[in-house]
C-alpha cells in the first residue's frame, strides 16, 4: 500500500455551530456525534433478546463458568478466544451472565468501527470520511454482525484497525502506526479464523499492487520488539491476561480451523450468497462503492487499493468452500470506504445558481418512481397485481418500464440543464432510495433477536418463549424448594449450549441420556417430540418454542420477490417440553 498525496477537490468548509457556553463544534463533528448515537442505538438496543445461537451460547456458558471459578472440560475450545476472554471479564465484573453482556464486546467494537474512517480523513477527505462512517453506521450487515456474540464482530474492526495502522506507517507517519498494528494484529489473531481471512485478503492485495512495498517489512519482521508486541497482545487478549491459559490454544485452533475449512467439503451456503446478501442488505454501500471505484480508482492510489481489496474479497468468497460471513462483512467495510470517493465526486461539482434545487427535485422524482416500483413489486409478491409480473418476462417488462422512466427523467434533466447535475441527481435519487431500504432493513434487525436474521423472516420472536420457559422454571423451583434456582432440573439429552445457557442460573441442572420412572426432579425438560416421557402420572408438560429453522426459499417468482421485499420465508420451530412435578405444578 502506498499513501496518496493526491489533492482532492475539497468542498467548502463546514459551517460551525456555535452554542454559547456549551460547544463550538463544526457540523462535521456534530454529524459524527449523531452517527455515534445512531450506531450505538442500532447496536445496543435489544441486545438482550434470547436465545444466543448454539455455539455462541456454548462459548458464553463456558465463559460464565470460568468467571465463577468453575473448571472447564479439558476440550472446551471457544470459537473466539478474544471474545471468550472479554465475555469472561464482563461476566466477572458484572457479577452475572446475560445475553446483553455476552454480546456487548462485539457491539462496542462495531460502534468503534464506525469511526475508523476518521483515521483516513486525509486520504478520503472530510466528506468522504463522514460518508464512509455513515455507511458503516447504517449497514445492516455490519449491524447484524455487531449484534451477534461472535468473533467476527471483533475480527472485522481489528482487521480494519490493523490495515489502517499499517497504511499510516507506510505513509511515513510516526512509529505508533506500527505499534498499533502490532497490538491490533496480536488481538486479532485471538479473534478466530475471520481475522486470518481479512489479513490474507490484505496481503494478497499488497502483493498484487505493490510487491516492492513488502520489502519495508523485512526489518520489521526481524525486530524482536514487533514480535514481542504481537505476542504479548495475543497472549493477553486470548488468555484474558492469563486468567484463561487455554485461550492461547483456542486462538491457535482458530487459525487451524481457517486452514482446515479450505480442505473441508463444500458448505451448505450457495455460491453467490455472500454477494447477494450484501446487495440485498447494503445496496447503498455497494452502489456508492461501485461509483467510487469508477470515479477514482484510476487516479487515486487509495481508491485503487480499496478496489483491488474488494475484488480479492469477492474472489475469496467465491472460492471459499464455507462462505463465511466475513466475506460479506469485509466486503461491506471496504466498499464503504471506497464509497467515500463517490461522495467526494458528488460534491466536487459546480453548485452555483439553482443547481442544488434542480438536483434535489431530480432526486425526489427518481425516489418517487422507485416508491411506485416498490409498491408494484409488493403487489406482485402478494398477488394483487393479477397476472402482471407473475412470470419472468412480466417482471422484466415492469422493471424495464420503470428503468426507462428513470432514464427518461435523468435524460430530461441532463439535456435541459446540465449532465453533471443530472448524474449527481441520479446518484442522489439512488442514495435516497437505498438509504430508506437500508435503514428499514437495519430497523428490522434491531427489532428481532440479535445475531440471527431468522426471526426477520417470520415476524415471530423466540425470546418471549425462552423467557417464559425460564420464568416457569423459576416459579416451579420456588414452589418446590422455596428458592428460585435450587430446584433440580433433569434435561434429556447432551448439554447443548443454548439450553445450558438458558438454565445457567440454576445450580442443579443434570443431563441424562435416558429417562426412567425413578426420576423425581421437580423439573424435567425433554425434546418436543417426546409426548410420553415415562415419568409416571405426576408430571404435567408445557411446550415452548426454542429455536427457529428457516425453510427453503420459495421456488415461484412472486414468492422470491416477497422474500427480497419482505424477507418472508417458512420457518419451523424446534420445541421443548418442560415437565413440572405434580406438587410443583403452577395450576395447584
Amino acid at each position: 500500500m502506498n499513501a496518496s498525496t493526491e489533492t482532492l477537490h475539497a468542498p467548502a468548509p463546514f459551517v460551525r455551530l456555535h452554542i454559547p457556553l456549551l460547544v463550538d463544534w463544526t457540523m462535521e463533528a456534530w454529524a459524527y456525534v449523531l452517527l455515534g448515537c445512531y450506531s450505538a442505538g442500532t447496536r445496543l438496543i435489544g441486545l438482550g433478546t434470547a436465545p444466543l445461537a448454539g455455539s455462541a451460547a456454548r462459548d458464553a456458558m463456558w465463559a460464565w463458568e470460568h468467571a465463577r471459578g468453575l473448571a472447564l472440560p479439558a476440550t472446551a475450545v471457544p470459537n473466539s478466544a478474544l471474545l471468550f476472554s472479554l465475555q469472561m471479564l464482563l461476566f466477572w465484573v458484572g457479577g452475572h451472565a446475560t445475553e446483553t453482556l455476552a454480546r456487548l464486546a462485539p457491539a462496542l467494537a462495531g460502534i468503534a468501527l464506525v469511526f475508523m474512517p476518521l483515521l483516513l480523513r486525509k486520504e478520503l477527505g472530510a466528506i468522504g470520511a463522514l460518508a464512509a462512517s455513515a455507511l458503516l453506521a447504517l449497514s445492516p450487515s455490519l449491524t447484524a454482525i455487531a449484534r451477534s456474540a461472535d468473533g467476527i464482530g471483533l475480527a472485522l474492526p481489528l482487521a480494519a484497525l490493523t490495515a489502517i495502522s499499517i497504511w499510516r506507517w507506510q505513509s511515513a507517519q510516526p512509529a505508533p502506526g506500527l505499534q498499533v498494528a502490532a497490538l491490533a494484529a496480536g488481538a486479532g489473531l485471538a479473534c478466530g479464523p475471520e481475522y486470518i481471512a481479512s489479513i490474507v485478503a490484505l496481503a494478497i492485495t499488497s502483493l498484487l499492487i505493490a510487491p516492492q512495498s513488502l520489502r519495508q517489512w523485512s526489518p520489521v519482521l526481524r525486530s524482536g520488539r514487533w514480535w514481542l508486541a504481537v505476542g504479548l497482545a495475543l497472549a493477553a487478549s486470548s488468555t484474558a491476561f492469563l486468567q484463561y491459559p487455554a485461550g492461547l490454544a483456542a486462538a491457535g485452533d482458530g487459525w487451524g480451523a481457517w486452514l482446515a475449512d479450505w480442505l473441508a467439503p463444500q458448505g451448505t451456503t450457495s455460491f453467490f450468497t455472500p454477494l447477494l446478501t450484501a446487495v440485498l442488505y447494503d445496496p447503498l454501500a455497494i452502489g456508492l462503492g461501485v461509483i467510487g471505484a469508477a470515479t477514482a480508482a484510476r487516479r487515486i492510489p487509495a481508491a485503487r487499493f480499496l478496489s483491488i481489496v474488494s475484488l480479492v474479497v469477492v474472489a475469496i468468497s467465491l472460492v471459499d468452500p464455507q462462505r463465511r460471513a466475513i466475506d460479506e462483512g469485509g466486503l461491506v467495510i471496504v466498499i464503504s470506504l471506497r464509497a467515500a470517493f463517490a461522495m467526494n465526486w458528488f460534491f466536487a461539482a459546480d453548485w452555483s445558481g439553482k443547481r442544488a434545487q434542480i438536483c434535489a427535485v431530480h432526486a425526489c422524482c427518481l425516489f418517487a418512481v422507485c416508491c411506485i416500483l416498490y409498491l408494484v413489486l409488493g403487489g406482485i409478491a402478494t398477488g394483487s397485481t393479477g397476472a402482471i409480473g407473475q412470470t419472468g418476462w412480466g417482471l422484466l417488462s415492469v422493471l424495464g418500464v420503470v428503468f426507462a422512466i428513470l432514464w427518461l427523467v435523468t435524460a430530461l434533466v441532463g439535456s435541459w440543464w446540465d449532465w453533471q447535475i443530472a448524474r449527481r441527481g441520479a446518484l442522489a435519487g439512488f442514495v435516497l432510495t437505498a438509504l430508506v431500504w437500508t435503514t428499514a432493513s437495519g430497523s428490522a434487525l434491531i427489532s428481532t433477536r440479535a445475531g440471527s436474521a431468522v426471526e426477520l423472516l417470520t415476524g415471530e420472536s423466540i425470546s418471549p418463549h425462552i423467557r417464559l420457559l425460564e420464568e416457569t422454571a423459576t416459579q416451579v423451583s420456588l414452589r418446590a424448594r422455596g428458592s428460585s434456582t435450587d430446584a433440580e432440573i433433569v434435561v434429556l439429552g447432551p448439554p447443548s449450549g443454548a439450553l445450558a445457557w438458558a438454565l445457567r442460573d440454576f445450580a442443579n441442572v443434570r443431563y441424562t441420556n435416558s429417562l426412567s420412572a425413578t426420576i423425581t426432579a421437580p423439573i424435567v425438560i425433554t425434546p418436543g417430540e417426546i409426548v410420553d416421557p415415562l415419568l409416571g402420572s405426576q408430571y404435567l408438560g408445557q411446550r415452548f418454542n426454542y429455536e427457529l429453522t428457516r425453510g427453503r426459499l420459495p421456488t415461484d417468482l412472486p414468492g422470491r420477490i416477497g422474500y427480497i421485499m419482505f424477507r418472508k420465508i417458512p420457518v419451523t420451530a424446534t420445541q421443548l417440553v418442560l415437565w413440572a412435578r405434580a406438587d410443583a405444578q403452577l395450576l395447584r
Binding site: A74, S223, W227, L248, A251, G252, D253, G256
Partner: protein, 814 residues
Amino acid sequence: MAAEVLAVFVWWLLAVLAGWLAWPLCAKLLGTLPDMGYTASKAFSLLLTGFLVFTLGSFGFLRVTAGSVLVAAGAVAAAGLVSSGSHQQQLSAWAKINWRVVLASELIFFGAFVLMAALRSLNPEIVATEKPMELAFLSSIMRHQTLPAPDPWLAGYGISYYYFGYIIIGLMAATSGVTVGIAFNLALALVFALAAAASAGLIYNLVAIDHTPDAAGQPNQQQLPMKVWIGPVLLAPVLLLVVGNLNGLLELLHQGGVGSAAFWSWLNIKWLSEPVVAGAGWMPTRYLWWWQASRVIRDLNLSGAPIDLEPIDEFPFFSFLLGDLHPHVLGLPFLLLAVSAALALYLHARQQSLHKFAVAVPTALLAVVLGGLAFMNAWDFPLALALASMACVIGLAASGQTNYAIWQRSGVLILTTIVLCIIFFLPFYTGFRSQAGGIIPNPIFVTRLSQFTVMFGVLLVPAGLWLLWESTGVNLNWRAALWAGPGALAALVGLCALLTVVAMRTGQLAATSAYSTLLGDVPAAEMWNAILRRRFIESPWTNWLLAGMLAAAGGVAFGSPRRAGNSVPFVAMLLAAGAALTLIPDFVYLRDTFGMRLNTIFKFYYQAWLLWALVAAYAVSRMERVQSTVGRLAFGAVTTVVITGGLVYPALAVWTKTEGLQGTTVINQQRTATLDGLAYMRTANPDEADAHAWLRAQLPASGAIAEAVGGSYTEFGRVSAHTGLPTVLGWPGHELQWRGGFTEAGNREEQVRALYSSRTWEDAQQILSAHDIRYVYVGSLERNIFPAAGLQKFDLHMRPAFSNNSVTIYERIN
C-alpha cells in the same frame, strides 16, 4: 488407499516445511558446521515445536492440536527471523552455493520416508511386544490433547514415562488429521527418514571439516566437490539404519547346512546351536527366526547354562522391521542432532570461539536439545551430555589452548546447560518417577568375543581398520591412551569388585532370587575362582579389545596429527564412546525391575551401534587418503564383504516379515497394503474393531473405562490402547516399571476382578465411583475370564450404550 498416500505426502511436506521454518534458529546452534545446520533442521524443528507445546501445554496454554502447532511454529519462525539478523544472507548464500547438499539431503529424506512407509504398509499391525503400550500412549495423547497426558493404563494419573517422542508424533497426527493407527506407522517412517537425513548430514559435515585447511576460517563457506562426500553420505544411513548384524548371514549358512556342529555349538547362539529345521533351500524357515538377531548375546551362569532373562541386542533395522515405536527408536534422530551439536561445540572449541557459543540463544537451544533427549529417551541424555562435554575438551586440546580461564569457561557452559536442561523440562520431572535405583555390579556375565563380533562386526571392521590406520598418522598421546584404555578398564574392574564385595558383605547378593541362578551348579565357595577363570581365561577378549580400542582412540583424539583431518579427534571420541558403552555392562549395570543387565545392554548397545555406524561411514571417506593402492583396495574389499554380510539380514527378514512382499493385512479376504496398524482387526475381530471405533468417536469426557486386567505383552489393556480412554489398570508389570513400585496401582487388579465378578450391584457401584468409571467393557476376553453371573448386573443397572455380537459397552446412567 488414496487417503493414506495423501497422508504420506502431508507428513513429508510438514517435515520439510518445519525444517525450513526452523533453519535460521537451528543455524544459531549449528551454524559453524559446514552445512549450517540444514540437514539437522527437521529434527530440530520438531523437537523445538514439541518443546514449546509441552512447556506451554503444561501450564494450560497449548494442547496437542493443529492450532497449538501453528502457535508454536509461529513462535519458532518469529524467533528465527529475529535471531537471524545478518545470518539470513549467509544462509541464502550457502544454499545457493551448496544446492547439491540441499538436494541430496532432501532426496535422502524423501527416499527413506517413502521406503519405510512402503515397508510398514506391508506389515502394519500394531500387535505383540510393546507396541500396545506405545499405541496406548499415542492414543491417550491424541484423544485428550491436554498436557501432561493422562496415563491410559492407570486412570487418574499422568504418564510417568519419557514420552516426549509420542507428543511430537501426536502433534504431527493432529496437524495432518490422521488416525492413531496410521500415525503409528507414519511415525516409524518419519523417524527412519529423519535419522537417515541427520546421519547423512553428520557425515557430510565431518568430511567437509576434514577438507578445510585450518587457516581457512569458517568451514561452511567452501563448496566441496560432490565426489568427495556423496559416497560416505549415502553410506551413513545404510550402515545406521539398513544393515543388520551378522546373525542374518549365520541363519542363512545354518539353514544351508554350512558349518560343523562343533562350530555352531562353540558359537552358542540360541537356536543356531540346534540342528537345522528341515526345509529346502537357504531361506531360514524357523518360526520367528528374524527375532533371533536381537538375542545374539547370551549370558551364561557360572555353570555355563544360559539364564532366562537373555540380553537384548537390538539394532535400528530390527526395530523398524518389528515396527516398534519405543523411545529408543524415537530418539534416534534427536540423538544424532545432539551429536551434531557436540560437533559444533568441538569446532567452536577448536577455533577458540566457545565464547561465541556461550551466549543466551545457542546455550538455551543446546539445553533444549539435550534436555529434550532426557524427556524422550532418558538413556540418551547421559551419552549426549558426555559427548558435548568431551567435544569441548577435545576441541580445546586440539587447539592447543592452555589458558585455564578458557577451560573454566567451557566447564561453566556445560554446567549451565545441565541446569537449563532440568529447568526447561521441570514439568516433566515433577511428575516422573523411575524404576532405576542405582547400579549393580556384574562380576559374572561377560560378552564373548564371537558373539560380540556377530553383533558389531559389520561396523567394527571398517571402524577398527580406520582406527588402526589413523593411529599411524598421529603422534599418539600415550598418557591419554593409558588413561582411556587400561585406566578405564581398571576403573571398571575396581568398581565392579568394590560393589560386589559390598553386596556380599551386606548380604544383598545372597538375598537376591537370582543368586542361585547365577551360581548354577558351582558351589558358593568356588564362586570367585569361577569368576576369575571366566574373566581372565575363558572370555577376556572382548574386554581387552574394547580397552585397546579405547586406548587407541584416546591416543588419537589427544594426539598431534601428522595427517590432515580436523574431524579425526571427534570421530575418535565417537568410537571411544561406543567402546565405553559396550564395555560398561560387562562390569556394572543399572538396577531396574529386571534385576539383570539385559536392559542396560539393550540401550547401551543401541547407542554404540549409532556411534560406530557414523565412524564406519566416516572411515570410508578417509580411505581416499591412504596412499597405498593395495591398502585402499584391501580396505574396500573387506568393508564391502562385511557390509554385504550385514545386508543379508534385512533382505531375508523383510521377505519373511512381509510374507514375500505380499503384505500381512487381510481385508475382505484380500491382502491389502495399508498404513493403518489397526486395520487387521476388521478381519481378526470385527466386533471389537467396531466397538473401539464407537468409543473413539465418543466426545472426550471425564471418566474411565473398565476392562479385564492381565499380564504384559498380551491383549489385556487393548481397549484403552486402541481408544485412548484411560482404564483402571492396564499392564501391571509396566506400571511397576514406570513408577518403581505399586503404590499408585495398589489393589486395582483385584478391584477390577471384583467389579466384573461380584453379583452385588452395591459393591460394583462403589468401585465404579471410586475410579470414576464411565464405561464397562464386556468383550469376549471378559466373558472368558469372568463368570456370567457377575456380568448380569450390568444389564440391570447400566445402560448398554453399544452392543454387537460379542461386545457390549455399558455406560453409567447419569
